[in-house]
Symmetry: C2
């Protein structure tokens, strides 16, 4: 394009952008956390800034459970697994007398909680593996349109945090690539992450099961095996970031100690780095929990955030609204 | 931006693009293969076309060895490993008397070839693991600026195929995301793929070693372990595509039977799909090999390409030039 036309075009674009320019973080109250996000993005995107980061290196990673969507009273993935046990019970008559399935079918959450982690793994394997990836994705999509959050009585995909959706959009508008790096499984997140978060499947990193390529009736299929491939939590998160993304993020957002190493790895890079922890302080509009929570426990992060220069977003005081308007 | 300004801008852009419009595949001779690439991209990018593919789904995957760069007389990764053995020999005096290292140090390729795959694995583990990811990336970068291809006497990063660079750029200009899906290790490819192919680290899929996150002198590091994590070859390729990309590609490019399942998986998707195999037919300008080659053997692909609707790019007759101009 001839230089003069280019300049005219850019001038028109710039003029119209400035004319509109709504607040990109409208759901954040004015204060140090909102300012920190705006200031950081301003300094890394200004070419004359000593902290300038080229577009290709603008990688931002987000935990999912408790950072982008609600993880109480239990992880959404666990709610899905429990619902699946009930839905699959007809085809598994033996579950009526077999723990932990019996407890799930009878809604006996006390017995289930006492049964511990091994039982949860058993339930997850029974409900998440043994089918093709396409079949599982269809099951997730169906569930997400019917299941409702017990407290908020709205679909789980509407129990996402409006202020964080704004951060995602704001970063992308400033040349960042946004990734999910979650302890949840990729198979559960990919069917909705693009529509709900604007994050495409290839930018969803998470826990995986082993899979197998095979021909079913002559048609290629990828079948999910009942064997863990990779657990994307704690020190697994920087390992996954290296494996899947291959460069160190500039910004990291988490909410629990499962995100500690991801924030640590991000912050230890040279040049400007940004770490933020969503602190659940809002018992009324969402939940208030940290050190003693079973899901999304936050202890070390709370103790060390200040000295490490990570921000604690205070849900109750920093967020004007928690969830987007109902659809 | 107001609608009228948008239209004016786009009209100016479109006019100037058409005014210039150089041949995007200038290094391809006119013929059915060049036409197939151009026609396919035209039909999937035209919104009114029944074969239209939205931008988000425009995923194209490329094998690396033999598809994007030269894999003869041996895989570049193997040449790197052999050079590393020599460079590291000072620190490993025991290698002088220990096979397969002895053979490498003495340049005895016959003994090495006879030693078989187990020895190769031993050499690869000794040269690719035990250091941090940053250290390994620095070693690769140093090697790539000094090592030269034995036949072409130019850096390996200039033994890439100019016609394929044009395909990569052409697809990206049409909204495709281009990925490498290679049997080579990601650690070897990422340090050069962005500069040479325009493919960022997060779009490089390949073989991986297990890694471990640890603090070294209080500084976080990711250390490569002497254990294979995932072999990205044959049926491993669709498995990796599912794991890393999470959606089925629309186009796939390979050159050996190691790419068969990747092409098969791509082609089996609904809607328009494109598969191409680079056939090495040019003994003079590059190499001629297929069914009997030790590296990049192509047998099943050659037998089945026609009936599966995959194109065979004939290097000798389809490509005007093989490599880019020397730098």
């Amino acid at each position: 394009m001839p230089v003069r036309i280019t300049i005219v075009c850019w001038a028109l674009v710039a003029a119209s952008v400035f004319a509109q320019s709504p607040d990109p973080l409208a759901s954040w109250n004015e204060g140090p956390r909102k300012k920190a996000v705006l200031d950081f993005v301003a300094k890394v995107t200004k070419e004359v800034s000593p902290d300038f980061v080229p577009v290709a290196e603008r990688i931002a990673v987000f935990d999912n459970d408790g950072t982008l969507w609600c993880e109480q009273p239990m992880y959404v993935q666990l709610a899905f697994a429990l619902d699946r046990v009930k839905a699959m019970a007809d085809k598994h008559p033996e579950w009526k007398d077999k723990q932990p399935f019996k407890a799930v079918i009878e809604g006996d959450l006390k017995t289930l909680a006492e049964a511990g982690e091994k039982s949860i793994v058993e339930i997850v394997l029974a409900t998440h593996t043994g089918m093709t990836t396409d079949e599982f994705a269809a099951t997730v999509k169906n569930w997400l349109v019917t299941a409702k959050h017990p407290k908020f009585q709205r679909p789980y995909t509407e129990c996402v945090y409006q202020p964080m959706l704004e951060v995602l959009a704001f970063l992308r508008a400033n040349g960042f690539k946004t990734f999910i790096v979650s302890g949840g499984t990729v198979d559960l997140m990919r069917p909705f992450a693009e529509k709900v978060y604007g994050i495409p499947p290839e930018q969803v990193v998470g826990t995986t099961f082993k899979t197998k390529y095979e021909l079913r009736d002559g048609k290629p299929a990828i079948v999910i095996q009942p064997q863990l491939d990779f657990l994307d939590d704690k020190a697994g998160k920087p390992v996954a970031i290296n494996k899947f993304i291959g460069r160190r993020p500039v910004m990291a957002f988490g909410n629990s100690d499962g995100d500690f190493e991801m924030l640590e790895w991000t912050a230890a890079g040279s040049g400007p780095r940004f770490g933020m922890i969503v602190h659940h302080t809002d018992a009324e509009r969402e939940y208030a929990y940290d050190r003693k929570s079973h899901f999304g426990r936050l202890e070390r992060g709370l103790d060390e955030a200040a000295k490490r220069g990570w921000l604690l977003a205070d849900m109750k005081n920093d967020w004007k609204v928690v969830f987007p308007p109902t659809k």
